[in-house]
């Protein structure tokens, strides 16, 4: 509301009400609406509508076959009080996101920061090395080969030879190892868009800030990082955080490809898997929509927390 009053005051002409002024501006800029129309239409149909639709369907028992009944909060109550596997999925998702999100974020930033002072040529080679796994499609399947369950797997063979183990370990079929391994693989593929954004952000910092900082008594690179570098690239940090949230909550495919579905004892079962299970396999759309809504809520909450945390940077 305060925003509105500010804009009202900005209207120079007193003979127009706010509403008339908006209408006039809209008519004046009709071409702009025409220009955004194709994109906004597609965006609405394929991004906004599915989200909104999920919210509505989550209050029903829709299953693609019968006419849906409104069941209000039943789906949510079942999720949190009757579905043990969902609770496992919820726990796994949190463990995964809490580790992969921040670690990949830090790793992206630190690597970008380390290579910032290298010569452009070497920097571009190092960038490629770190970025390549995230764009190479299904190349992460190689982890399945490296950690294969028999003694032909390179890791098992090496461990056998060194005498650490007597029988090969079925890494991706053992509840003890599934989650840690999936986390490692996820980290391996996680230096993506935010990494590039950090590199660019570091490159874009005004050099004279560092000189001014040196005069002002910045003594080492850590102080420089905290007082100059980080505050100067806050926008990139925010963008990177959004990308990290997306990445750490949406990683189901890697787990399915490496551990099968469902993973052994549901050890790496996440909300994403639960969603696919009920949505694309059992067609319990109402229930799966409730799962999706829970996931949206978690993502938005994570986003808010991250925003709060980042506002403290450099102070």
């Amino acid at each position: 509301m305060s925003n509105n009053t500010a804009e009202k005051q900005a209207v120079a002409r007193k003979d127009l009400t706010y509403r008339q002024w908006i209408w006039k501006e809209m008519k004046k800029n009709w071409v702009a609406y025409l220009m955004i129309l194709p994109y906004v239409l597609i965006f609405t149909i394929f991004t906004v509508a599915p989200v909104v639709l999920s919210i509505f369907i989550s209050f029903t028992d829709f299953n693609m076959l019968q006419i849906p009944n409104v069941v209000w909060l039943d789906n949510y109550i079942n999720l949190f009080f009757a579905d043990d596997i969902f609770l496992i999925a919820l726990k796994n998702t949190f463990v995964f996101a809490v580790i992969v999100g921040p670690v990949s974020y830090l790793m992206s930033f630190l690597v970008a920061w380390f290579i910032n002072e290298l010569s452009p040529r070497i920097r571009s080679i190092v960038t490629l090395i770190f970025y390549a796994p995230s764009i190479s499609g299904q190349v992460y399947l190689i982890w399945g080969t490296l950690f294969s369950a028999d003694s032909y797997g390179w890791v098992n063979a090496t461990l056998l030879e060194l005498g650490f183990i007597n029988t090969p370990i079925a890494f991706f079929q053992d509840a003890k190892y599934v989650m840690p391994l999936c986390i490692v693989v996820a980290l391996w593929t996680s230096l993506g868009t935010s990494f590039l954004s950090f590199i660019a952000g570091l490159q874009g910092i005004d050099r004279s800030l560092f000189e001014a900082g040196a005069v002002d008594g910045v003594r080492n690179r850590w102080q420089e990082l905290w007082y100059i570098t980080l505050p100067s690239m806050k926008p990139q940090l925010m963008f990177g955080a959004i990308m990290a949230i997306t990445g750490s909550f949406g990683f189901g495919g890697v787990v399915t490809a490496l551990c099968g579905f469902p993973s052994v004892d549901y050890a790496a079962h996440t909300i994403m898997h639960h969603l696919e299970d009920f949505g694309s396999q059992r067609y319990e759309i109402g229930y799966s929509s409730a799962i999706a809504v829970v996931l949206f809520a978690i993502m938005i909450a994570a986003n808010t927390v991250v925003k709060k945390a980042l506002s403290k940077v450099g102070s």
Binding site: T145, T246, G250
Partner: protein, 290 residues
């Protein structure tokens, strides 16, 4: 800056040797962690079958051979749907999806960045928020909508949603904010150029790095697309899906599948190598100002 109280003696910005060494070691370790699996993929692709299944397994290839690639092409020729069809599917959907996305998203980005019409802020904020939402989450409801539009099991099910990718629009809009000067646009408008003309002849040539980034992101996503729940006809499936079928063939096909992995990953990597400087330039304006 106000909090800095360390003014006892003025020091020129120092880089301690210990810090440099520590950083180098850490970076090297991380680098090895990133490179090893990639190197292993390459090694596997050039190992003859007896080396792939030898005990104890070796990391390095001893007698490199191209026979895996030959096997792969033989396998491709024996598939029920000709492999050229899968390749066509992927290339066709990638090109159409990317072209449409480029035009539609950049036009929208221009209007959002450079025309101050009522509503431009909240429209952009909505798009920005949706950056967070993974497409898998909305897959089921998208399926329902697409079947309402009779798009299921057609190329359109892949192409049209690609036009609405959010990351491309976001990066394009941010890049235009910082790299297209309002003064130039204003003088074009005063000369009587229409908004569409200003967008196409003035703004677009100024944001070529962003074009390229948008093209590459969209192309990469489409290129790496495997099986989709929206497509069930074998003839319409993607190259990546078909490669996956070969990979799933077990022990006998281990060599061919390693070769296929290398072929599939070479394309996005090469594209990135060529366009790296442009992408980094675009990312310079990717930040969220709030």
């Amino acid at each position: 800056m106000a909090r800095l109280r360390t003014r006892k003696h003025k020091v020129v910005l120092s880089r301690s040797a210990g810090g440099d060494a520590g950083i180098t070691v850490l970076l090297t370790l991380l680098g090895i962690f990133m490179v090893l699996p990639m190197a292993y993929v390459l090694m596997q692709a050039f190992k003859p079958l007896d080396e792939l299944w030898m005990y104890p397994p070796r990391f390095y290839v001893m007698n490199p051979t191209a026979s895996n690639f030959k096997d792969l092409f033989t396998l491709m020729n024996t598939s029920w749907v000709p492999f050229s069809r899968y390749i066509f599917n992927t290339v066709f959907t990638s090109v159409m999806g990317t072209l449409g996305h480029l035009f539609i998203a950049s036009m929208c980005a221009y209007a959002l960045a450079k025309i101050k019409f009522p509503g431009h802020k909240w429209i952009f904020n909505t798009i920005r928020t949706s950056l967070m939402f993974h497409s898998t989450v909305t897959a089921v409801t998208s399926f329902i909508l697409m079947s309402a539009f009779h798009m299921i099991d057609t190329y359109l099910a892949i192409i049209i949603p690609a036009w609405g990718y959010t990351l491309g629009l976001y990066l394009m809009k941010q890049f235009m904010d910082t790299n297209v000067s309002d003064a130039v646009l204003e003088s074009a408008r005063l000369d009587g150029a229409s908004e569409l003309r200003t967008y196409w002849t003035i703004a677009m040539p100024m944001v070529k790095p962003a074009w390229l980034t948008l093209i590459i992101y969209s192309f990469q996503t489409l290129w790496n697309a495997g099986s989709s729940i929206y497509i069930y006809s074998e003839q319409l499936k993607s190259f990546n899906y078909a490669i996956g079928q070969i990979t799933a063939g077990g022990i006998k096909r281990a060599g061919a599948s390693a070769a296929a992995t290398v072929l599939m990953m070479m394309v996005p990597i090469l594209v990135f190598v060529i366009s790296q400087s442009n992408i980094i330039e675009t990312m310079g304006s990717s930040g969220m100002k709030d």
